[in-house]
């Protein structure tokens, strides 16, 4: 005999009157409110933003504990010093070897780095960066800028408006070559810059 014999629930779905009443109560309560509309686009945007912030925070933490010293040794310390640690989503330089895919979104100035297993690794947000800074950011991941086009906008002239690509997906040949077999390879990210004419 177990200690719970006298009160043990009788089974799935509710067997005793009390359990049946509990099931009815929960169903009534669940039916009492209309479900709000959840917008997939909003969810996706919010998710990307949080991931960017998380990556930026990790980067900042890495700098604080001493990774900054190692990065400075590599060079380009002036580039990093000029920007606040959490200002833009950035990715740690050590992330590069695991990257196998680069997914540039035409409607955002973001380049998404994806691991071979398909998990999102990080997002480089180039929005608002100068072309020089964008090139530096991309070069950390062995990427380069492709065509540069200008578009009228109200922002600062010469800053990145968006990135885009002509093929369905840009794939960078890092990692397992077999995985990338048959896919169109490129390491180029095309950039739209703000002409400031609007």
């Amino acid at each position: 005999m177990t200690p719970y014999d006298d009160v043990r629930p009788s089974g799935r779905g509710g067997g005793t009157p009390f359990e049946q009443e509990l099931v009815s109560a929960m169903n009534d309560f669940a039916d009492s409110a209309t479900a709000p509309a959840f917008e997939p686009d909003v969810i996706a945007r919010s998710s990307r933003r949080k991931r960017g912030v998380a990556v930026a925070a990790l980067t900042a933490a890495a700098v604080i504990v001493g990774a900054g010293t190692a990065l400075a040794t590599i060079g380009h310390s002036a580039q990093g010093a000029g920007r606040a640690a959490g200002a833009e989503p950035t990715v740690p330089a050590t992330a590069s070897p695991a990257i196998t895919e680069v997914n540039a979104r035409w409607h955002f100035a973001q380049v998404e780095l994806v691991t071979q297993k398909g998990h999102g690794l990080a997002t480089i947000d180039l929005a608002g960066l100068t072309l020089k800074d964008a090139k530096t950011m991309l070069s950390k991941h062995n990427l380069r800028t492709g065509s540069i086009t200008w578009a009228p906008c109200t922002g600062r002239r010469g800053t990145v408006l968006m990135v885009f690509h002509g093929t369905p997906r840009l794939v960078k040949a890092v990692g397992d070559p077999d995985y990338l077999k048959g896919m169109k390879l490129t390491d180029t990210v095309n950039v739209d810059l703000c002409s400031g004419n609007r």
Partner: protein, 192 residues
């Protein structure tokens, strides 16, 4: 809500682009059900909405794993209940329940509704883990093993949490306890 038998499941699982139609279809077809579960679990429409929003964001980030899972619905439900437990640990959000409840006359529909409302509020006063087990059993109709898998605990822990949870709820409604202890006789009982 089994994705494997759902006619929309094929469209849900097709595609690997997380921003594509698969994720859109999933959100469209599943968000209302997730919200119902979150509402019962949290007891608050606002908190439930936040919980579902956060769950879907997590699903978006792990979309490939979700789509590749044997049971995407179970995967997502697991994300949601674990997020709810995390949130509860952080904020200790509870909906205070008014003490006790008046006896309602048989056939009194208003009284019945009020009584069920009190029952749901009493549910919200259970500890989060215990409440989660009760909701997964009686609202989602899951087995002990399925609940144990979702929460990462043993089936015996599920059974004890469930028994204690029901006992606590019954303790708050003594007028119903007389009914509840009279379990219906099963034919299997006679054969023993």
């Amino acid at each position: 809500m089994d994705l494997a038998t759902d006619p929309t499941s094929e469209t849900v699982l097709v595609g690997t682009n997380p921003a594509g139609t698969a994720f859109h279809a999933f959100v469209t077809s599943r968000s209302a059900g997730l919200y119902r579960g979150a509402l019962v679990l949290t007891g608050s429409p606002d908190v439930a909405e936040e919980l579902v929003q956060e769950t879907l964001e997590r699903v978006y980030r792990k979309w490939r794993a979700v789509a590749a899972a044997d049971s995407p619905d179970a995967y997502v439900r697991r994300i949601m209940v674990n997020l709810a437990n995390d949130r509860w640990r952080k904020f200790r959000r509870t909906v205070p329940a008014p003490p006790g409840g008046e006896m309602t006359a048989p056939g009194d529909e208003y009284g019945r509704i009020d009584s069920r409302d009190q029952l749901v509020r009493a549910l919200q006063n259970l500890p989060m883990r215990m409440r989660t087990v009760v909701v997964l059993r009686y609202f989602h109709d899951l087995s002990d093993d399925e609940i144990a898998g979702d929460l990462g605990i043993s089936a015996s822990t599920v059974r004890s949490q469930l028994a204690r949870g029901i006992e606590k709820l019954r303790g708050q409604f003594p007028e119903r306890s007389g009914l509840s202890t009279q379990r219906p006789r099963k034919e299997s009982d006679d054969s023993v």
